[in-house]
């Protein structure tokens, strides 16, 4: 297997992993935006209007990014968007931890039954962020080389 082919394979594996995780995370929120809104509200970071808009649109941004990251032409943009979302999630969760809030993270559903925010959810997001950054940077470099 050539080096380029191996890199391509790794890029596809990363894209499929990110796509699957984000689609899996988005679907329950799309199905019940009200539960997701409650999750956002528990972070106590946004005004009322912001909570509603985020509950309506964020799951769709996640779902679209999950779909577009599988499309090589849009991979860099989708991975960049995913990385930006993960940074926001990390900041929100870190701030909740710092404030001692015992809340569910709202990552994969809006339900309060989900696991609470902790170092494990921060670590998971950090790993996903690393994958997204590799996809975005490597994809940009490849595009530059082809040009």
């Amino acid at each position: 297997m050539t080096h380029t082919r191996r890199i391509n394979l790794i890029m596809w594996a990363g894209a499929i992993l990110l796509g699957a995780v984000f689609a899996y995370a988005a679907w329950p929120k799309i199905a019940d935006p009200s539960l997701f809104g409650q999750s956002i509200q528990r972070y106590a970071l946004l005004p009322n209007r912001g909570v509603s808009l985020l509950a309506i649109y964020l799951p769709w941004v996640e779902m679209c990014a999950a779909a577009f990251v599988l499309w090589p032409r849009y991979r860099v943009a989708a991975a960049t968007l995913i990385a930006a979302m993960l940074v926001v999630f990390l900041v929100a969760q870190g701030s909740a931890l710092a404030r001692g809030l015992e809340i569910s993270c709202g990552c994969f559903s809006g339900s309060g039954a989900e696991n609470k925010i902790g170092w494990d959810s921060l670590l998971r997001n950090a790993c996903l962020l690393l994958i997204a950054l590799i996809l975005a940077c490597k994809g940009r470099a490849s595009a530059r080389n082809e040009a």
Partner: protein
């Protein structure tokens, strides 16, 4: 790349708008989320009580008070007379706590504050198990301790 990001965002905005207009679970574009816990608690059949009512129950002992937060947080401070019943260890602690509740006496549940859902989980479980007068203090320990520190000269 910016153009591609815009395409993804526009697609998401269109899909989100269409879904929210067509979905049976649609959200109001703007609503008061700060009182949503109270609304949900009332819908679930729990009786929402104020800080003043909690104080009255504490003073008169007219309700069994359950703290739904973790044992650690309970240890750091709790409403006087409250028993610990952490929802993160419900299978273990709930049966013991439920067995000592007096059916005719109201049960008051609370957790950390407006952002937590543990008191709601515990309250619903009590209703399922046949306790008919379950009170919930949505403001939780945050409101209680905040008021206590204001009262301290």
């Amino acid at each position: 790349m910016l153009k591609h990001i815009c395409i993804i965002l526009v697609t998401a905005i269109c899909a989100g708008t269409a879904a929210n207009l067509l979905s049976p679970n649609r959200l109001a574009w703007s609503q008061d989320w700060s009182t949503r816990m109270e609304t949900l608690a009332t819908k679930a059949g729990l009786n929402v009580v104020s800080l003043e009512q909690v104080r009255m129950h504490v003073d008169t002992g007219s309700a069994m008070i359950l703290d739904a937060r973790s044992l650690d947080l309970y240890g750091q401070g709790h409403i006087p007379g409250a028993f610990s019943c952490p929802t993160d260890d419900m299978d273990h602690t709930y049966p013991d706590v439920a067995s000592m509740l007096i059916p005719d006496l109201p049960v008051l549940v609370y957790c950390a504050g407006k952002e937590c859902e543990d008191s709601m989980t515990l309250g619903k479980r009590l209703l399922q198990d046949g306790f008919t007068n379950v009170l919930i203090f949505v403001g939780g320990y945050a409101e209680w301790s905040g008021a206590a520190s204001e009262d301290t000269p």
